[in-house]
Symmetry: C2
Subunit: 174 residues, 2 copies
Amino acid sequence: MILIMLQLRDLPTQEVLQRFAERYPAADVTAIASFLMLLRVGTDLSLALDACLTKHDLLQGRWWVLILLMREQDLTCVPSVLAEKIGVTRATMTGLLDGLEQGGLVQRISAPQDRRSVQVKLTAAGQAKLDAVMPDYYTRLRLCMQGLSENQRSDLQTILGVIDQGMSAWDFNQ
Amino acid sequence: MILIMLQLRDLPTQEVLQRFAERYPAADVTAIASFLMLLRVGTDLSLALDACLTKHDLLQGRWWVLILLMREQDLTCVPSVLAEKIGVTRATMTGLLDGLEQGGLVQRISAPQDRRSVQVKLTAAGQAKLDAVMPDYYTRLRLCMQGLSENQRSDLQTILGVIDQGMSAWDFNQ
DNA sequence: TCATTATAGTTAGCTTCCTAATTATGTCAA
DNA sequence: TTGACATAATTAGGAAGCTAACTATAATGA
């Protein structure tokens, strides 16, 4: 499953929110304002990340694959697991791996024990690519977050956790 | 500009983060953890929203157009402004408006004073569609956020504001 | 045993975004 | 006034995701 998130350049004024709340009694003004802000900052962050990756000739999908492979002890994983962890379909993963393999960043190795399956391995070139990208990426991320105290970072994670919990309620009733 | 955000089902363990931080000294572990969590909750929220809209035969892009039109006093706006506010190209807006007009939810009216331009107006059917969707949407949103105190909501907005500020620093150096 | 069902990965065709080029109209200055 | 440039919207073609169908292989059970 993939998400296409628009940029939401234009957050509603307090007045507009109030007007909507009058028409729709179900509206919870502070919930809506927080939600929209969250959506906007999330997209802005992801866009900024994309810009960084583009500089290194990478797209977000392919980059996540490299990261996931690097997380593994043996730098190896199967496509279906990669797909699930990134949250794309297996069909999409086939395309991502095609691109990465063409660039020499990963290698498909047929699995002897189950001939339906394939092992995907991060190559030396793939590791080198990460070694080029990650310091840049982490430096930029540090800049974004440098205004936050450790307490605020911890608060943010707590709050996001609560929202994540609240979403189960959403799923139940849908 | 549009953002394609993957789902990130799999956040790194503390141990993996530590391993990355050793290889890449630029890494700021709490910044990364907060960032990934933010990305994940943002995408999950947006996905849940999409599911709600889909029930009402709407896509996120088209829905935002309806919202923006409803925000206007005269329920009217021009395509270029809509495009900028949602953060899509004018070409994309053309497609969104085509779909909405075909469904009778908006109406294109040629502008007399500048014949290059077009006025887009929310129709009665468009307003009716919003009146059907918004109570559902707001109710779900309330569920997601119900676990947050007013203080936490305000904290969240403050924190997101700081991150947004920090991103200017990112842009400067890119 | 072998037919059925399940699973891994891929392929084919669709959607909706994008960029770049195009058409029509407006603006401005020589 | 008219040529150059700017602007509004659209069209054409491309990218990267999706679903559904397909191929090959494995597992299961009558």
